[in-house]
Subunit: 393 residues, 2 copies
Amino acid sequence: MRDIIGNIEIRAIEELFINIHPIQPGGRLTPEAMKALISYGDGYSTCDWCRKPFRLDKIRRPPIEEFHVKLAEFLGMDQVRVVPGARRGFQAVVSSMIEKGDSVIVSSLAHYTEFLAVEAAKGVVKEVPLNENHVITGENTAKKIEEVKKETGVFPKLIMMDHFDYMLGNEHDVRGVARVAKDYGIPFMYNGAYTIGVMPVNGREIGADFLVGSGHKSFASPAPSGILATTEEWSDRVFRTTQMVGDVTKRKFGIKEVEMMGCTLMGATLIAMMASFSTIKERVKHWDKEVEKINYFVKEFLKIQGNKVMSELPRKHTLTKLDTRGSFDKIAQTHKRRGFFFSDELKKRKIVGEFVGATKTWKMNTYGLTWNQIRYLAQALQDIARKYNIDVA
Amino acid sequence: MRDIIGNIEIRAIEELFINIHPIQPGGRLTPEAMKALISYGDGYSTCDWCRKPFRLDKIRRPPIEEFHVKLAEFLGMDQVRVVPGARRGFQAVVSSMIEKGDSVIVSSLAHYTEFLAVEAAKGVVKEVPLNENHVITGENTAKKIEEVKKETGVFPKLIMMDHFDYMLGNEHDVRGVARVAKDYGIPFMYNGAYTIGVMPVNGREIGADFLVGSGHKSFASPAPSGILATTEEWSDRVFRTTQMVGDVTKRKFGIKEVEMMGCTLMGATLIAMMASFSTIKERVKHWDKEVEKINYFVKEFLKIQGNKVMSELPRKHTLTKLDTRGSFDKIAQTHKRRGFFFSDELKKRKIVGEFVGATKTWKMNTYGLTWNQIRYLAQALQDIARKYNIDVA
């Protein structure tokens, strides 16, 4: 009987270790979110006081409606909905904006879920090439739009762009892209999976038609949770309500939104987002401190001979791709534990979240670490280097 | 700062009251699920040990892969995925099976999310009429298929049918519908939102091509969570992997499933489902006891003069629609609190979950109540009746 449950270990990584996992730190729960989970864990826990018009974002007790209003303000947008992950936000936008065969502009570093959203809607992705600094510019986006027009005879129907990409954590010129989008009259979706909830994001100021964020990636919330925000101009389209009528019963469900499939996060996930919101509003103001810490770390990391940083420098994001082919990977070549020697050494020092066994190129994220932890982390890497006779400057 | 969070009250309905809410009881967490939530609350908590091929259902630590295999066995199907709510299962099936303009057969008591799934895929719903007992039969389904063929020139592309509907909790002849579906060669999706997790369901035995279940409705899990299961025949279609290739980078993400948008429940929601699974496997064996209890309740309820039951009798499901127009609603007509008098009386007796203020027709669900609670509930309604001089037989 207890086959599955007997093998679910108690997860205490955040309690016992310094976690540098590339995608986990921004989704670590706040204490308030943890309390909310416990109180609202049961299935349809948000539905106790659901009244007309019977839609999640209209519920007043708990204050879900107010949260939606305040979240839209916080993001500089007019309308917001919560969704089961950023990917479901992409899906809703793409499905609303394109028809079969239409082209959608994405980054050459676009997350795979953008590909899937376009594929599900039977569209075609068209990637904007990176410039020499591995960054997407407005100029390259404009060029790509022209190419698509030339190649297919029609302009792309949507531009989706990641502010910071998932591979290098580089900042892409979303404002420049937004200007190009406006010039061409093509709607622009800003992918804020790595920004909304960790740094200030204002959709109006950026010039975005849609903002998408991730609860479990950057909003201190459980999975699956996410945010889809838009302007008055587009809200009737992406949040269009059902028009279908039952042919026998003549039933209509007029208030329900098609792309949302009605209600979205009917329980713990939403209440946890709401519970984290106060902390989120405060923590985005201190993003500069997070950037300071990753740049300190990178400086110390580069003192280890052979180390390189693949992400742009100086760092503008805590997600960073490192290259240790010239250092730790050389040790791995002859170590009996191969690449695992490095993970062993990190784990001994209570550091986890690197890709276990990887010593060539790997990603990490220092978001939310204290200065003491950052210094300890840098020191630990230098200690490991010295132990294996790698020079440290 | 604390505007939203200051207004999130601590939810203790399940601790302090007898909850007869129509959609909540099956999603009440098990103690194991609650513990899992606490341990795995952080965003991407399931991704600590994600390794090649980098897909949620392939993760071995915690035993997510094993859970998927065991869950498919439990449901008598070949392949299963978890999804953010049953509605996202409907969406995946419909989006995979139909093209713009295609017809989909649904029940005249179909849940609105089935309408939305068809609308999102640009299809058209065609409702099967109820028989005189408010039940969907295979015969009526066959008739409707013929009508659609006659009207549109082509057969419907999919049949979706709720085993028990959300309005009356009546049982519909899903086996008969499955046979008709097979006769016509039309794929059949079984909607088990009100069955999977509370009663035994075996897709092979029913003859279903797709099973969809709800975690937060019937699987003792937090929202949003759900189940989509299918046979080998259809799994390559509904779980098809991405074929898209980046035109500049030539990137492919071959293992990722289009309709799932890649991974689905990357944290607490999935681990809670897994933690509840042992209890689920056991509790479905005792569905007959649940049915016994609702029938006892209904018998006592009908002793109150003027009371009626709108659902079929004897009850085959704990979800039941009641008609108190001839009893409590008469009191409400002249009571200064109107219909709220009834909620006040229930609440005084520590009973909640009815639609507050409703005294005409309303739904309730006794799933999971103990015999003591059932007797107390029946007694409470009779006490309220007597207090307002309504005869009790």
